[in-house]
Amino acid sequence: MANIGVYVELKEDKSKKSNKEAISLAKKSGKNVYAIIFTNNLDQHLDELKGIKKIIQIKDQDLFYQPDYYSDTISNIIKDFDLNDFIGICSAQGKDLFPRIAAKTDASLVNDCIDIDFENNLITKPVFAGRLLTKIRVEDEFKMYTIRPNVFPVQASDSEENPEIITKELNKKELKTRIVDIVKSDSKKIDLTEADIIISGGRGMKEKENFKMLEDIAQLLNAGVGASRAAVDAGFATSDMQVGQTGKVVNPKLYIACGISGAIQHFAGMKTSKIIVAINKDSEAPIFKKADYGIVGDLFKVVPLLKKELEKIL
């Protein structure tokens, strides 16, 4: 039987939320699943890896994402264990790491997959910032995929079987691209690409200080705070908060747009949200055409009311 590998992405030794999706997808493929995980503390991750038969654990005294070390290590594993498919998350790290592995192993990689039909060898992925979708066939023995977060179903495993654990050392042969430091963001922000709920502000927010209103609601809902480009350009929000064509592509269950007109480039980044709510004082604003629910009104009145109502039910 063919073998499929899944890269279990960790951040400061914590599992990324979408690993569950990638693992479920790998299991669904019907192939032998190998989980590849870079950690010195495998025990804390075993629960999530339940039902996987083989785990390849990579250890090092100084484990820290370096693209060259990680891509060399994984490329060797792919060859040694004869993996024909390899899945990961289309995260910042996934987009850095997977193309390097694909180039080193001469595989065919498709990023940002929203559907993978293993049986018929068909992958669906958004193009033109989601304005169109494409179905792709990969004519290659060895295929790699990164999946868009929050798209694939998660299947819990009730398997009690003990996995086989294979331990490897990090391959530290060559370091051309050297990560020397990580600059933390000032606040403990929720990662927008993985957030279940996002509340965003646009030019209609008028001032930086007014984003505090959105942050309060975000805290209440455990949501992320996003922004339109106009809000970023005006200095109300930082660039990592920008949603859209040239910002982040997000895919939450609920997206609340406050004082955002709904330009096509903004829409490109949030159109796949399950439910879109628009708050805008202009009933003609294009955002209302794309929203599931809209409230026409002054956001400075609506947002505080929204907070009050949410507090009641939570």
Binding site: A103, F128, E139, T177, L254, S283
Partner: protein, 256 residues
């Protein structure tokens, strides 16, 4: 110093896209632009050129005849030379990267290569990293800050959760440009006049010894995603409206 900037011509972000033959877009009436991330790449190259004497900025693109306009646009911004690998064939990212790598090597010396982290048509996020791996040189992607000092490159790249990686590379290397990097300049009138006179070097895939095109990524179907039905817009008293909204989010949509 020799800088290369790889660019791609793409439909304008506002363009109305329709599908032709179920596999490609209908190009009639489309306004073409330089992919926005590639504009950031050009700008960063030009900023460096302004600082370092005797620096040449060469643009390079692969695509059909119309892509000449993208090169002219970049020349008008201030680039010195342009190379056009002209082909009407659809080629996948791996082959594009290979062609770019060979063309750049043929030119002799290269110190830095700037390129957008993704093109906004196929949104593959692949070409820049494939290019670097092809040339066997370092690469950073999603770069929002760039510094060059005595043959060393220092960049910052944005990662998830608003954090940034600080990265060191030696030259030659590839920089995958992202939005925060700079604000691309508009071409000046003088620049546009000058650009018209710069000859564009034409190459074919055969010139680069890419004979047979063995695409491995094959587009079977291109289609528009299903449209969402018009939602519910609540007007009138906002206090009632917000109550109605929260109730609907909880009970109807079940997202709270």
């Amino acid at each position: 110093m020799n800088i290369f900037v790889c660019i791609k011509q793409v439909p304008d972000t506002e363009a109305t896209l329709s599908v032709k033959n179920g596999k490609t877009i209908n190009e009639d009436g489309i306004k073409w632009i330089i992919s926005p991330y590639d504009e950031h790449a050009i700008e960063e190259a030009l900023k460096l050129k302004a600082k370092i004497p005797e620096t040449n900025v060469t643009l390079i693109t692969l695509g059909p005849k119309r892509c000449e306009n993208a090169l002219r646009g970049g020349l008008a911004m201030g680039a010195d030379h342009a190379i056009h690998i002209e082909t009407d064939e659809h080629v996948d990212n791996r082959i594009i990267a290979k062609a770019l790598a060979i063309a750049i090597k043929q030119e002799g010396n290269y110190n830095l290569i700037f390129i957008g982290k993704q093109a906004i048509d196929d949104d593959s996020y692949l070409t820049h990293i494939y290019l670097a791996e092809n040339l066997g040189i370092p690469v950073s992607t999603n770069v929002t800050l760039f510094n060059y000092e005595s043959e060393k490159v220092f960049v910052e790249r944005e990662i998830d959760g608003g954090e940034k990686e600080k990265i060191e590379m030696t030259t030659p290397c590839v920089i995958g440009a992202a939005k925060g990097l700079n604000t691309p300049r508009y071409p000046s009138l003088m620049g546009m006049m000058k650009a018209k006179k710069i000859p564009i070097k034409k190459l074919s895939l055969q010139d680069l010894e890419i004979g047979e095109i063995d695409n491995k990524i094959i587009v079977e179907k291109l289609f528009a995603p299903p449209e969402k039905p018009q939602g519910k817009v609540i007007e009138g008293d906002i206090e009632d409206g917000v109550k109605e909204l929260v109730k609907a989010l909880k009970d109807e949509a079940k997202v709270l």
